[in-house]
Subunit: 682 residues, 2 copies
């Protein structure tokens, strides 16, 4: 039997599971006519956006693929196309699950919070399974198509096109979705809540439907594409790195990540279906049981597969370090953004003296948290490296640590998508004027969601940075192969990556400054789109006379249209930065400085991303903390200040932060792909 | 004649010039009794603060010196003590000039704006000359005392203590002064301006005197100590680097920077005294003439000295690259913070939709500007390196570029101190209820000040980063000497600074995260101190019944006391971070990873600093732009939003940004000093 069949089967298993989940969710009632109506608005808006996004993406992807075909051959071009296509299919599938689960979650909340939780979570797990499965199906198909195998090991390199396709598609989905959702959110908040004094999700607010659509196209589809990308890149790059260790582990050095992913699907299935009503326990306990089941199943699989396939217990240690670092990461995010922790309380306290101190305090905690996340990441790198006793094999150890970490992605994606689904469910409840009972039950889900967000964010960050480091080493390994350098130890390439060389220092410096430019462009793009939304919402309140009294309906579709158009328009320039910067460095400074550029970009991008995530998260919760009745509660000076700080944090945490994750990977994987071209010039 | 006499004479020349400047300024009238009264409040407050600061510093400096004595010998300990002492004397002298020039500037403005300009500028040049002279006097004295010379070249290394003393003292002065000034400023603005609706410098505002004292202890003394530090560090480190090039240039390799500084004093004198009333031209023209005179005099000196002493025209090119980069740096800062440029206007426009968009837009332009500053710095590094045809000598070229740049420091410091003096002058005018005529004339000075601030900020940043890179290479050169490694080319140490080594990557990563922690602590320290000031000002408005009507006087001294106490208390923890972090890395990861740590810290610190400077500067000017009557002018929604964004930017640009400059140098120079200790353990 061809060993590739194992991961191929692992990937295929996802398809019937997804079908079952759809069937299971659709069976549930979608509630009253009003609820169905609102849900259909959201669904239509989300699908309409995704359709236009796909059209926009295809204008780029297709010429790009043709270019790759002529420059690098059909394998890279086809892999690229498949990567982009599968990424799109994965997020469309996942989002379709989310937009049918949202209203059913609302309806279930009327009778049982436990049932609502399971609906939201299973809705989210459609995204989880579609991401996990399509990556495996895609890479295994290419493996077979390109004739990869022990007799043709070099063909592994051509898989890199799949990663690039996934990355580019993710960049579009995340940036577009991120701008969309925040333009709508800021528009709805600044005018509806701050100026007019409405509550969240008031049906009279013209931007409210756009806001709910935003949850789906930004938080759900965007995040799904991010995970698709980082898992695909991670897998391909670990396989490339594996090529260097054929002497140590035979062909399993290349196949191991595929086996882990294929068989690891079992752990995801166990985890997802462990989330159920556990007696009278709350939703958080249910989610925790799911997480822990997935974790322990994974640890067992890691142990068995490491000893059985690799005959090296150290591989198990590395994988475990990766998966366990997840918990430390969660603790950091929970501390800095948790509603009951000191940072959030201090921000709320600072808001009493007005907006500036609130901003500065949140800003400060975000900066501080970035340092601790970096220490964690540094720890994982050093541990992975040292467990294999350093040297060249240490790099393999490091790659294994990231493989272990990425193995939780099915679970993480499910939990992540649970967030926007329960947000949507709460919005639908508010707009349909449902009973307090239902809302209370949705509040419980929301409270659980705050914790899960911390978990998935901590995870997302650590995973992105470590994936980038792995891509970097894949880049180095590919480079020395092209240059014909024999590498027995990492010291063999010291000459090319000498940190005392001013060219290397400058490349590092330029790399580090790219995330600043990228974030700047993205913040302005979001601000511009949000300003247009603010103008439109103000206009509607002014011109539609019966709107405030509730006699007339707002023009929802106009707001949806503004978010859609502007997000698609505004995403182009930031994406260009991610693509053009490595090309310029590769052609001007050369291929080794390009590696230094990537390191600078990765470190800086990561630091900025944590800062943006955690400042934004902490501001969000400090507002909620005040709304819970502290420091004067709703309507107080502190609350007014907190609403402003929360709005500042919104695009930071939901647009820029996640997009930075993609930037660092896209830039890295693009560099590997173009390596042969750079070498022609250098 | 001993060649050290040349720079020693150059340094000594400053003393009579300073005396003349004092005499010249004191001759001028200080105006009405009311003006003198206010000026004396400011003077007393400033001196009282500096006195307490010196006491606080001495608690640290003296035990530190004793520790250095036992661990590293008397030379380092004595040099350290002298560095700290001279730095303190320089800023006390400079600030004494500022606090007598302020009120005389106000008075001169009554009759002639041109005369007011010259007073403010010459007041500032006392700081300029005292910094420039005391550095030379200190280093030359140590040179003689330690018996440095061609027969004892290694003694140059002991000069490093002087740099460390200057750095530590600067850290205290800048952080303490920075917290002081922003606590007072935010307190005065948030309550007096935003809540009560007073104008700037209203005498009824209890925090107004503290605010004016803050201009002196923060902007004037803090910035002076920064420049003292970076010039001292730069000088010592270039001399250390020079040791490696004795074969190329003889003993002049070490002496050249001293000659340049000593003889370069002529250019500073020419520059300073070219600033005078040039017919009917405005103040900006006068300042520009001064700058250009200094620039051209320097270029001529560079040309002569390079050919005469070094017999290498390339040295002249490197020096010129350094001094000319100043202009590009200025253009960047002017573009991003200029009141008539697109970024500031866009921020003002964004403020129309409320605070969040104003914050996000300013945030965005600050981030973007950081990228361009890095490109400039990268360009200087590459040029300096390539002009000497790369390799080891390229490092010398890079050092020469920074030497050229630092040569403008006398002029730059004079212009920099001109800022707080004219701010003070305007405050005194407002508080004494002077005629509109005088205020208009001070407004002209202020407008010129906005441009000069851009120049000195652009300068400060480029200089700090490049100085840090030079310190880094000094560190590497000292390290290989201790380790007994012969270095013929930078590739000889590639093995130790291999960027593919995970230990190096992790050190870089940790180094890059330190500025985040440092900024976080400092922002919170400032916020805490500002909150206390806000409470006190609110209390006075509430409890002193006739205050608002102007019947009763506020308790100025209470506010001064709050700023003083809290700034001295709050500065301890951030300073500890700067000192402890390199020690931990040096002892745990080792001396080579420590070099990577420094690079990470330098790059990241620089990026954060530019971002903070320029965001803060742009917010400040966007407020002024609105106050000039755009987007509704004073009192409009846009203006209210702009006042908030300006307050957010204040501690960023005036506390954290400048302190980051010192952090990167302090951490670097501290590492060199402790190198022998680290090597005992490693």
């Amino acid at each position: 039997m061809n060993p590739i069949l194992i991961p191929l089967i692992g990937g295929s298993v996802g398809v019937p599971i997804i079908a079952c989940l759809f069937w299971w969710i659709k069976r549930e009632s979608a509630g009253t006519t009003r609820m169905k109506e609102i849900a259909s608005y959201i669904k239509e808006g989300a699908h309409a956006y995704l359709k236009r996004e796909v059209v926009t993406i295809s204008y780029v992807i297709i010429p790009f693929a043709i270019g790759l075909f002529f420059i690098l051959g059909w394998e890279i071009a086809f892999g690229f196309f498949l990567g982009a296509l599968f990424s799109i299919i994965a997020i469309i599938t996942g989002m379709s699950g989310a937009v049918i689960a949202n209203v059913r979650t609302t309806n279930a909340a009327l009778t049982s919070p436990g049932r609502a939780l399971i609906l939201a979570f299973r809705g989210g797990s459609i995204m989880g399974f579609s991401v996990v499965s399509l990556i495996l199906l895609g890479i295994c198909s290419l493996y077979i198509l390109f004739g990869v195998g022990p007799s043709n090991p070099e063909a592994v390199h051509t898989l890199v096109g799949f990663g690039l396709g996934a990355s580019l598609s993710a960049m579009f989905a995340q940036i577009g979705g991120g701008i969309y959702t925040k333009a709508a959110d800021i528009g709805a908040d600044l005018v509806g809540k701050t100026e007019v004094g409405m509550v969240e999700d008031d049906p009279r607010n013209p931007a409210v439907i756009a806001d709910l659509v935003g949850d789906n196209v930004g938080d759900c589809a965007g995040r799904g594409s991010d995970l698709f990308e980082s898992s695909a890149d991670n897998l391909v790059c670990i396989m490339i790195i594996g090529l260097t260790f054929l002497d140590n582990y035979g062909w399993n050095a290349v196949m191991f990540p595929l086996y882990i992913r294929g068989i690891g699907k079992i752990a995801t299935i166990i985890g997802v279906f462990s989330v159920r009503k556990w007696g009278k326990r709350g939703p958080l306990t249910s989610l925790n049981i799911g997480l822990l089941s997935a974790l322990f199943s994974n640890l067992i699989l890691f142990y068995v597969l490491s000893l059985w396939l690799m005959k090296d217990i150290r591989i198990f240690y590395c994988l475990s370090v990766g998966i366990l670092s997840l918990f430390v990461g969660t603790l950091i995010v929970q501390y800095y953004t948790g509603i009951d922790r000191s940072p959030v309380k201090k921000i709320a306290k600072g808001s009493q003296t007005g907006t500036p101190i609130g901003i500065l305090t949140g800003f400060s905690f975000g900066l501080e948290s970035a340092m601790f996340s970096m220490l964690l990441i540094g720890g994982v790198i050093i541990l992975g490296y040292q467990i294999m006793d350093g040297g060249l094999l240490g790099i393999f150890g490091l790659a294994m640590a990231t493989l272990g970490m990425t193995e939780m992605k099915g679970m993480m994606q499910s939990i992540d998508t649970y967030g926007p689904i329960s947000d949507n469910a709460a919005g639908i409840a508010e707009m349909s004027g449902l009973s307090k009972e239902a809302r209370k039950s949705l509040d419980t889900l929301d409270a659980a969601g705050n914790v899960t967000k911390a978990i998935t964010k901590g995870y997302g960050l650590t995973k992105s940075v470590l994936s980038s480091i792995v891509i970097l080493f894949a880049y180095i390994f590919v480079l020395i192969k092209y240059l014909g350098i024999t590498m027995n130890d990492i010291s063999d390439i010291a000459l090319y990556l000498n940190l005392a060389n001013p060219h290397i220092i400058v490349s590092l410096l330029i790399g580090a400054s790219i995330p600043f430019l990228f974030s700047a462009l993205l913040l302005r793009a979001t601000s511009r789109a949000a300003s247009k939304m603010v103008d439109e919402v103000r206009r509607q309140f002014k011109e539609i006379s019966g709107l405030l009294r509730g006699d007339e309906k707002p023009d929802y579709s106009r707001c949806i249209d503004i978010s859609t158009k502007n997000s698609l328009k505004e995403m182009i320039f930031p994406i260009l930065v991610g693509l053009v910067a490595p090309v310029i460095i590769g052609f001007t400074l050369g291929v080794w400085p390009l590696a230094a550029f990537q390191i600078g970009l990765t470190i800086m991008g990561a630091l900025l991303a944590v800062f943006m995530f955690n400042s934004g998260g902490a501001w969000d919760n400090s507002k909620k903390y005040i709304e819970d009745g502290h420091y004067g509660g709703k309507g107080s000076t502190a609350h007014k200040a907190a609403v402003v700080t929360d709005t500042v944090g919104d695009p930071m945490k939901d647009t820029v932060g996640p997009s930075l994750h993609i930037l660092i990977k896209l830039s890295n994987i693009f560099s590997i792909t173009l390596l042969p071209v750079f070498l022609l010039v250098n």
